[in-house]
Structures are given as C-alpha cells and as structure tokens.
C-alpha cells in the first residue's frame, strides 16, 4: 500500500507541476469564484439565478474534470514509457500492477479534492445567492421549496398499454368499426392504438374526470421511499398544466379529489384550483389518502367547457415529498460525478498502457462521447434499420456497422444515467441508490475490469522495446 500511495503522491505532484492540472484547476476556481456574482438567471428571480448557478458550476466542473482526467490518465503512463522515465521506476521493487493502481489512485484523489472544493464553493455560493434581496413576491419561498428543500418524487404508474390497445381493438371489432385484418395490419393498428392511448393518457378533456394512480411501493429498490413519504403529513402533487393549443398565461380551472373509494377513510375533500399554464404548481395532499396497498389515486375534473388540459413529460405530473437536505443531496451528486471520473481514469490509464498519448486520448474521448449520449446513439442505430422494402442507407456495410456500433454502445456505461446535476438544480432528491449503483457499476465492475486489463497489459509489456 505504501508503494501505491507513493506513486499516487507522485502522480498528483506531476499533474500539478507539469501545469496540466494547474491550468484546469485555475479555470475551475475562476468559474466557482466568479459565477455567483455574474450569473443572472431570468434577470428577475433569485430562484432562477441559483438554479443557473448550480447548473453552470456543477456542469462545467464535471466537464472540465472529465477533460483533465482523460489528459492526465492518458498522459502519465504513455509519456513515462516513451520518455523512459519508467525504466527507473520498474527496476525498483514495485510490481507493475501497483504502479498502475497508484497512478489511478493519484488521479482519483486529485479529482476527489477538486470535487470537494467544488462542493464547498457550491454551498458558499448558494448561501450567498439565497440571501440576495428578492424583488419578486414568493421568490424566497420558491428558492427554499423548489431548490433547497430536497424532494423525492414518484412518477405516475403507467397502464399496461398493450392490454389497453387490445381492449380497444376488441371494442372496435364489436362495434363493427374494423373488418378482418391481416396479422401485419393488426400489428400496425395495435401500435397506433398504443400511441393514441399514450397521447391521451395525460390529457384532461373538457368537463371530464380523469383518474391518475401513484403506486408508492411499485419498485422493489424503492421500498423505503413510500415509508419516507408516509412519514410526512403532506405530499405534493407537482404539476405543470399545458393548453394543447399552446396558449400561454391562460388560467385553467380544475377540481382535485384524492383517495380510494373502496377505503372511505382515505377520501379527501374536493378542491377547486386555478392553474396558470406553463407554470409548476404544488398541491398539498394529506398522506392519509394513500390506501392500504400504498397506492394513491388522484382524480381531476376539468372545469373548462372547451379547453383540454395536458401534462407533457414525466416531471410535469408527479408526486413530491421533502426528503433530505441540500448539502447532503449535493454531496451525493458529487460522489456520482466522482465515480464517473474514476471510471474515466481507469479507461485512460488502460488505454495508455499500450497506446501513445494522442491515440489513447482520442480513444478515451470517443468512449466519453459515446457514454454521454448512449441513449441517442442506441436510438440512432435503430433508426438506420431499413423499414419494409426500403434499401439500407448504409448499403452492405449497414448490418456489420450496426452490429459493431451496438456492441460498442452496449459496452460503454450510460453517463446520462448518472447525471445528478439536473436533480440538484430542480431540488430533486439524488437517491443514495444512485450513488451505490454508480460506485458498484462504474467502479467495482466496469472500472475494475479496465484496471485489471491495464495491469495485465503493463505487466506483460516490454517497456524498453521501441515500438515507433
């Protein structure tokens, strides 16, 4: 361990004295120190200023540290091998795997220190921005409730779309609306019916009741969440209504009632409320409305005679409850970012154990880019699949390229899955499970595999062999 730590210390000294890290650290410090005074948000509210600050500072630090990690991890081994500095080191009694691990520990320690500095700066700056005089009524409360008071959320329970589509198909058949269909036609019709059901699912038609369902114990790993939620007196229905016609600043009226009619003690009073479209509204709902199966039913009646109300997007209709504090939430987000950087460090070092610095950098950046837009890439490969009789846009290269591309995309981790900055900005809870998942998957599984590969390559490599 002492040798690993000796190499790690050396790695940190190298990164700072060769001015690679110093440059990045200087930029990060400038951002952290100037942003609280320069960021404006929407120019009116403290809330938007604070949210912008958090988004820009945490986002830019994460991006800069990703670049720094790639440069450092790709540079250290490859440059020491090409500069022959490693000859002296490996002639000392240090196993090469310890050398590799020591380098990795050095990079992740540097990242850890920088993220802790970022964390401290974020807390200080948040305190500073929060205490600026508010000019808009309700702004200070919004800062507290929507940013600093961390809230967990439950998303709507999604119906079984296929079952709904089959039911609708059956109804259409019984009504004689459709004739005999070929299997392909039936499949296409079901797909269309599913799309229609989804689009109508979050739409309240005029003068109609609509039932929404939240299952608080739906996901096994979230068993503790509903208990946390039920410890509160109230949970909040967090909604952002929208007018299908796109009218802004219109006010829509609706009646809200909660509870399960089969369990009368859960029923609440009906409440009439005005909703400004395109704004978030938090409606308190007493937790006794949750039934014995830990399900909360919310019924909404659209009072308008002609306008529909829609709730587009998962975060426009969800259940929130306060959980945790801003600083612990931010710390968890920082830990997720650190896990991502630790993976990148392992990747860069592994690449540099057999590639030169520029090639290792390019390969690492390729993986970083793919990991940052994994979902988009996966979709992109799907879109290139020719439909029906249409010719493959990639000609004969299409199938093998898609095969390789999919394999590559499947191998890289999904960094968007570990992006907790948006949760911090929106005052959303960053679950400890995410941190655990990031540590296990990015560090103990994928990171460890890269470290093992790097150690094996470095151990087997003839370091003094001229490869150029």
């Amino acid at each position: 361990m002492s040798r690993i730590w000796a190499v790690a210390r050396h790695m940190i000294a190298e990164s700072i004295r060769t001015k690679v890290a110093l440059l990045f650290i200087a930029i990060i410090l400038i951002i952290l120190l100037t942003l609280p005074f320069t960021v404006t948000g929407d120019g009116l509210t403290i809330k938007s200023r604070l949210q912008n600050y958090l988004a820009y500072s945490l986002g830019s630090v994460g991006a800069l540290l990703s670049l720094l990690t790639v440069f450092l991890s790709c540079g250290t081994l490859s440059n020491e091998i090409s500069g022959k500095y490693l000859f002296l080191v490996v002639s000392k009694p240090i196993p090469r795997w310890q050398l590799f691990v020591g380098k990795w520990v050095g990079v992740v320690t540097l990242n850890g220190v920088m993220l802790l500095v970022t964390f401290a700066a974020a807390l200080a700056s948040t305190w500073y921005i929060k205490n600026r005089p508010a000019t808009v009524p309700g702004d200070a409360e919004a800062v507290q409730k929507e940013v600093l008071e961390v809230r967990h959320n439950f998303r709507l329970h999604q119906p079984n779309w296929n079952q709904l589509a089959q039911e609708r198909l059956r109804q259409l058949r019984e009504a004689g609306a459709i004739e005999k269909l070929s299997p392909e036609e039936e499949k296409a019709l079901i797909a269309r019916l599913i799309e229609e059901a989804k689009s109508g699912w979050r739409t309240l038609r005029p003068r109609q009741w609509h039932l929404f369902e939240f299952r608080l114990s739906e996901i096994a790993v979230d068993r503790r969440r509903h208990a946390d939620a039920l410890e509160q007196d109230y949970v909040f229905l967090h909604i952002k209504p929208r007018h299908p016609g796109g009218t802004e600043d219109a006010v829509l009226q609706a009646v809200i009632a909660c509870g399960d009619p089969r369990e009368p003690q859960t029923l609440t009073r009906e409440v009439t409320a005005d909703f400004v479209v395109e704004r978030f509204h938090d409606i308190p709902i007493p937790t006794f409305a949750v039934n014995s199966r830990n399900t909360l039913y919310v019924q909404i009646f659209n009072l308008s005679d002609k306008d529909s109300i829609t709730f587009e997007g998962d975060d426009c209709f969800e259940l929130l409850y306060p959980l945790g504090t801003f600083h612990w939430n931010t710390l968890r987000a920082i830990m997720i970012t650190w896990s991502r950087l630790a993976f990148l460090a392992a990747l860069g070092l592994m690449m540099s154990s057999f590639l030169s610095f520029p090639v290792a950098c390019m390969a690492s950046f390729l993986v970083l880019a793919a990991a940052s837009m994994k979902k988009w890439l996966a979709d992109a490969f799907e879109w290139t699949i020719p439909q029906g009789t249409r010719e493959d846009p990639m000609w004969i290269f299409g199938p093998p390229m898609r095969l390789i591309g999919r394999a590559f995309v499947n191998l890289v981790p999904d960094f968007t899955h570990y992006d907790a900055v948006s949760n911090i900005v929106g005052g959303r809870y960053v679950p400890a499970f995410w941190v655990l998942q990031a540590l296990v998957l990015l560090l103990l599984v994928q990171g460890a595999v890269l470290i093992i590969i790097g150690c094996v390559v470095l151990t087997r490599r003839e370091l003094a062999r001229v490869t150029a």
Binding site: A13, G83, F87, L88, V90, K92, P93
Partner: protein, 397 residues
C-alpha cells in the same frame, strides 16, 4: 560453495531478437550470450555502440524479455520484485522526473523501496552530500546539467544500499572530478562493502581502472571474456622503469640489451603528467580559493549508510578513512597536489607506479584498481572535449 552460490548473474544462451510489426526478424541484438558474473566482483561489459550491452542490461532488469535463453539474477528471475529490492540501477541516460528536485527524487525512489521515513531522510541527505548536490537539492532536476543529473542518478541507484549495482555508462556526461569520484566509489563499494558491480561502458579507461573481469560484445555475440590482467598482458615485451637517465646511459643500456639479449629496444620515452591529474589539481586549487559555482560541488565523503557495517564503529571509521584516500586508486594525483614535493620526485613516483606509452602495452594490468595508466587518459579527453554540458551555461563546473 557451488558455482550458483557464487553467481550473481547467470545467462545461458541469452538471445534477443527484435521483430517488426509483421513479426519479421529485424535485429538480433543479443545472440546466445553466456555470462556468469560472480559475487563481489566488478565486471565490465564492453562493446561498441549497438553491440548489445544495453539490451543485455535491460533483460537483466526485466525491461525486455529474452527471445530465447535463460537469465537468473541473484538466483531468481529478473522480474522478481524481491530481486529488484537488492539491485541498484543507473541507466545510460538518467531518465529522472524533470519536475522533482533532487531531494524529492531520492525520497520517491526510497519510498518504492519501503525505506522507513527517518532512515530514508538520513540516506537522502547523505547521498546528496556524497554527490555534491546538497546545495542544489531544491532545484528541479530538469534544470540540472547532464553531469549533475548523472550524479543524482547514481544517488538513486544507491538509495537501497544494493547488493548488485548495474551501472550503464556511469561516467557519461561527468567531468573528470565526477568521473574520478565514481570510480573511487565503485572501488570502495566492491572492495570494502563486497558489492557486485556490473559496469557497462565504452570508455575503456574507466573499465580498465575498476574492473576485475570483462566481457567484450560485438554484434550481440560474446567475443572475449576473462580477467583484464590475462586479456591484456603481452608476454613478449618487458618494461624497465628507472629514475631519469641521461642520453648516454640510455644508449649504453640499449647496446647492452642488443648485445646480451640480441633484441631490439622498441621505445624509450619520458612520461608526462596525466591530463586527468592536471585537471583535478586545477579544480582543487579553485575550490581552495572558495570560488562560487551553481553546479555540483566536489562530492563529499561516501554516504554513511553505505559504509556502515555490523562489525562495529571502528571498522566503519577505517572503511571511511580508507575510501577517502584518493591515492589508493590514483596515486599519481595526490603528489601533484602537494606543492612541497619536487618535480623529480613526482616523475619518479609516476615511473614507479606506472608505465610509458609503449610500456603500457607490456605491463600487466593491475587487478588492484590503484594502478593508473600514465599516458594521457582517453576518457578524460573524451570528457573534456565531447561533453555536451560544457557548451551550456553557469550551472556547469
């Protein structure tokens, strides 16, 4: 005691072939090399550039793997970590981290040997003093001249008090003072501390001064191997050394030899001072006048931890005292520095302890490294004329 007990380095059929990307054989760097380097000896590995010396050393250190053949270093494979804890290595270039200073450099390598902090600090300070870099210890190694970097390179090779010291061109880039000090150190470590030393150089004078056995490589193959005394002795020549003779006496002696022995006198000459001796004298005079320098000073006494012995303090003192007497290695240098002695005495001492240009070829090489060669030392000229760091600024001596 078996031969394995005596062997520190053993190679059998050692071959290294460098191949290109397509695995076509490109260069045979080392070809069927059989070496057996014994405990407690200074072994010289000689050969022109590209003869396979450095490749052999790299295989001994596990930096390259043999294509064929077998290597054992201290009875184990060269990649064995335990073996490496007993080896000190000075590569042909110093390969030191430019961003560290001398103290940090030694401390870092000391940490890799897991030397406890207190002991590490003690060794670092002693090595800095020994290499004459104590005053420059806070300067980044990247700012050092080649000679200074060489000194710190040597210090890192000694940080673990190794049993086996592998030195690849140790005097390359060093001034004559540094060269002399390194040769003295090699002799001390071998004679007093029983260290085994593998010296790889193409500065033949250095090797001749300190090595007991040598191997000569050419084209990756072993061309000659044996004790220097045996390899260099010329049994068909005889050397006579006397005090200064007048020309008549020389003629008479010449005639006697021709008449009595029926043989020709090949050459009669007056030996001159060695350039190395001359240079060292000038430097010492400058130091006595306390002239400032931003380069390395003359090294101090040998680091104490290298002189320590379990036998006791008295032995330590005697070893240090013995090592600090340069005349044991270079007797010609010391009289030159003593102004009280006459020129005649100096010449006499030169004559007694050395040989003339011709006689050099006939004199048996002393196994003891204290026998200097009185002709102008080629290595010193090399150092004076070709050193890259002479061209640069004030940091050089």
């Amino acid at each position: 005691m078996s031969s394995n007990d005596l062997s520190v380095i053993q190679t059998a059929g050692l071959t290294k072939v460098f191949k290109d990307f397509w695995h076509r054989q490109r260069v045979v760097a080392v070809d069927k090399l059989d070496l057996d380097i014994h405990k407690d000896e200074v072994f010289g590995l000689l050969g022109p550039n590209g003869s396979g010396k450095t490749t052999t050393i790299k295989m001994l250190l596990g930096l390259l793997y043999p294509t064929r053949g077998r290597i054992q270093v201290l009875g184990r494979a060269p990649t064995d970590v335990e073996v490496k804890s007993r080896i000190g290595f000075l590569p042909e270039e110093s390969y030191l981290y430019q961003f560290l200073d001398a103290r940090e450099t030694l401390d870092y390598y000391g940490r890799l040997f897991r030397i406890p902090r207190q002991e590490r600090r003690r060794r670092v300070e002693q090595l800095l003093e020994m290499t004459g870099l104590g005053r420059e210890a806070r300067r980044r190694v990247g700012e050092y001249s080649k000679g200074m970097a060489r000194r710190i390179g040597l210090a890192q090779a000694l940080i673990n008090d190794p049993d086996l010291l592998i030195l690849d061109e140790p005097t390359s880039g060093l001034d004559p003072v540094g060269t002399r000090e390194i040769k003295d150190l090699i002799v001390f470590l071998n004679r007093e501390k029983r260290k085994t030393i593998l010296l790889c150089s193409h500065l033949l004078a250095d090797v001749e001064d300190v090595c007991q056995r040598v191997a000569v490589l050419y084209g990756g193959r072993l061309q000659a191997l044996g004790p220097i005394r045996e390899l260099l002795s010329q049994e068909n020549l005889t050397q006579i050394t006397t005090e200064k003779l007048n020309p008549d006496s020389v003629d008479r002696i010449r005639r006697i030899i021709e008449r009595e022995e029926g043989r020709q006198v090949i050459s009669v000459s007056t030996p001159s001072d060695r350039l190395e001796t001359f240079f060292l004298r000038i430097v010492r005079q400058a130091q006595q006048l306390r002239q400032t320098t931003s380069g390395a000073t003359v090294g101090g006494r040998i680091a104490e931890f290298l002189t320590e012995s379990p036998v006791g303090e008295a032995v330590v003192e005697s070893l240090v005292a013995a090592a600090s007497k340069p005349e044991r290695v270079e007797p010609a240098a010391q009289p030159a520095a003593e102004p009280g002695e006459s020129a005649a005495t100096e010449v006499l001492k030169e004559l007694i302890s050395s040989s003339s240009a011709v006689a050099e070829a006939t004199s048996p090489v002393e196994n003891e490294p204290s026998a200097p060669v009185p002709q102008i030392d080629e290595s010193v000229i090399d150092s004076l004329m070709n050193r890259a760091d002479r061209k640069t600024g004030p940091s050089k001596e």
